[in-house]
Amino acid sequence: MQVSAGFLGFILLFIAINSTDATAIENDDIEKNSIESIEIPTANISLELLKQLTSLPLAQGTFEQRKYFTILKQPIVSTGEVYLDQALGFVWQTHHPLSSVLRLKKSVLYMQDAVSPEREVKGAGTITQVLMNALSGNVSALENEFNFQPSKQKACISLIPKENLLANVMKAIDLCMVDNKLKSIILFEHSGNRTEIDINLSALTKLPEAISAQLQ
């Protein structure tokens, strides 16, 4: 009988802490309350705005990422390229200041950096899938995971996670658009740290062979 390993295997997996499960924040309740207090027409307006986002099933572009840590005076800046295929996943290649690659394939995230070979990042599939949906303009998928509200910043919409899985990791995501194209993503963490990503995406009819091979 193979039952034996079942329970222990499960407990092991279950108790083990998820890297994306992460930070339980005292502000959760406050945040949830504020979500609940949003008036439905405002949410609808935000949704309508978001729906104008150009859908990019296949795309390629560049990005500049600035990570703001409350403890640091200056942001940590990195730049690179991104390729995405809504059906397969995406490749997020950082070139500066160090070379590293994030690859989302079949809902599984793989990571490689200057020091270590590629490895699976377990449990990070959901958060990365959210990023993928934002980049590709898959609004209906985002609607399942977030409530929408206008951002304090102009031309931006705030996405507030509905579920604990995402809410534990981030406070909100702002998507900012210019001419119905996604221009920047801002990830707000509960700790006050934030990540700003300026992105310039162009639609593709076909991914480069080398990239496509990585996502197969």
Binding site: M1, Q2, V3, S4, A5, G6, F7, L8, G9, F10, L12, L13, F14, I15, A16, I17, N18, S19, T20, D21, A22, T23, A24, I25, Q65, K67, I71, L72, K73, Q74, I76, S78, W92, P97, L98, S100, L102, S107, M111, D113, A114, V115, S116, V121, K122, G123, A124, G125, T126, I127, L131, E163, N164, L165, N168, M170, L187, E189, S191, T195
Partner: protein, 790 residues
Amino acid sequence: MRNYNKGLIAYFVQLGLVLLLGVYFLVMGEWHVQSNLLSLLPGSENNLVLNKAEQALFKDKEQQVVIALHGKQAIPAYQAMQKQLSALPMVELSEFQLPSLTEISQFYLPYKDNFLSERYFKNINDSTVITQLITSQLIQMNNPFVSSTIGFAPRLNLADYLNTELNLFNKVEIVKDIPSVLVESERYFISQLSLKVAGFSLKESQQVNHQVLSIIQQVETTYSVDTTYSGVVFHTAYASEQAEFEISSFGTLSLIGVIILILSVFRSLKPLLLSTITLSIAVLYGLTGIVIFFEELHLLTLVFAVTLIGIVIDYCFHRFVCDENADTNIRTKKDSSQNKVANNYYVKPSIINKPLLLGFLTTVLGYFGLFYSPLALLSQVAVFMIFGLLGGLLTVTMLLPHVKWLSDIRVMPWALAFAKKMQHYSLLFVQKRKAIYSGLLVVTIGSLLLAPLSFNDDVRLLNSSPQLLLENEAKMANLLNYQNNQRIVVTANTIEQLLQRQEEAISQLQQQPALIIKSIAGLLPSQQKQKAHYQMIKSASKQGVFNQGLANIGLVDAVDEFKALTYQDFTTSQLNSLATLYITKFSTNETDVMESSADNFTLWLDVSGDKLNAANLLWLIQQSDMRIFDKAGQVSSSLTTYRQNLFYLLAAAFVLVFLVLLVKYGVKQGVIGLLPIALSAIISLSLSQYFLGQLSIFNLLALLLILALAIDYVIFYQEHGLAPRTCLAIMLSAISSALVFGMLAFSSTPAVQSFGLTVMFGIIAIFILAPLSSRHRHSDVKTEIPHSNN
């Protein structure tokens, strides 16, 4: 005043003494029932410690059930299912308080300089790589470990360490507050239950099994979701229901068969009643023997000792058939007052007492060998059988002759006529004895050469669980990723020693790169390792290895005084659930059940990704304080040990039987007597192998019964020749044994089926072959055949 027969008085006196003795040992001794097969294995002190450790670590797993739901309506289905399950009295839903990453980070803060990930460890003296490691973590889009530790450990050694260690476990995600796993882009919601079912309560297992399955099916239908479920209780309930069905159906059929047989032959149910009394007394004797010589009775002893029924029934039939006073004038009314007994019957020494005694002694000699077996189980079987047979023999020879009912038992004329026919054909067989033996020997040896007997002791082959349950188990293993894992158990006297030994084991196992090792070693390293890592960080810090990385972000990170993270710290933190999952205390003392008084520590680690290579297996075997947890393997291995011992002891029993036959009946008759016994054994095993594909210990177990019956049959034929009443008694014995045991061949439980099939073939074989061992000379045969035809 009544006169009582001295023999009868002696019988009751000894019966009373035996029962008193049994009660005395039962009450005064620390006597208990044992069900763990592994506990009966001969082993070293190390084995005992490891057995106890495994028991302590995994004792609760048999109470667990895991259910996975998948489908569009999985979340409402899950919620509905949980609600219904929580209403069941024997079900407890498992809930866990998961510590947040902030809490984990805060917990490790005082020990921030004691941890180096493999990447940091390998490059601790390389300033360039260390700088890259710091930078690469800072530029990750969303690394919560960096966010939560950069404030107090900006070298990011702790962030990298926790990220690496926790990433090993990460598979379960919480969605809508429900634990779930994502497999091939499909989400499965996981429910875990703990069942409060008492130890051996099969009824409760069945009840809770039905309740849980009913809820699962209801949820499946209502919400159109797929379900997968896993748990020992499903198998236990199925097996016990199957066993109940078989016991009731086979038992009823057997009972009806035996009743019809007895009614047909005797036109009375009195033989059945007398046999039941005799059997009950025999079992009481057997149990008394056990409580005198042992402090525990293993349940398997009773399984092995079922043979007692077959032999004692055989004794009874000989008594009923061969001692019928109408035919033999053994019981005659006498007027002599000195010979009067209570029931006014004078009992002459029976003609069956001698062969019964001889059969008993031969069988006991065979079992006596088992008594000295290094395996406690076989010693118990020997004691149970020897005492049981003694009780049966004494009852048949000393009590039954005084039971008035015995005189009422008459064999029906048709049965005697049938027995005479049997005698006739047996005599014909005896005429061609040489040819038959020669032919059978050639065929048997030929078949053995063509298809040698082969045994497979893998306990998994004895699994009778239905395909549906096995498929569910396999799917759940795939979902939760434990399909190819192995668990290694480590023991030690102190927690520090335990953690150090675990680290040695991991270090050894990591020489096989494909292995994925999950353990608590990362989250709770030994103090020795923490100190070593602390010294490395301190030394690297002095050398300025971290300076560039820290300068890039404008932070400083002083190395504090060493403070070790202890097991005590760990167990009093929110990570205690992990500590109790992996580590436990245990006692090697049988009677010591309190964990607080336990004096040993044990932990386990999970290895997957690949099978352990030869070097790792060898290393583990050489470690007296470690073992791969493989219950199926251990049980299989113990079955092999038992089977081999049983085989040798059966061989020794054959030799002993042969010696008895040689001494009693001479060389020729000895050989003639042994041949049917040996041939029956080989034929029954060969045929069983042909039909089953392979043999197991349960086929050898059946040989115990066949051997014991064969000895009786052969001795009766040797003593009485082919007398019709001997033929009839043996026929009744064979048919009743076939009805009771042979019917088990139709069981769907592989172990029971193996036993039943071999018994069936063995009984048929010995029934046909035993008459060949009779003492008839050719001249006797020639004179008897025409007579028997009349």
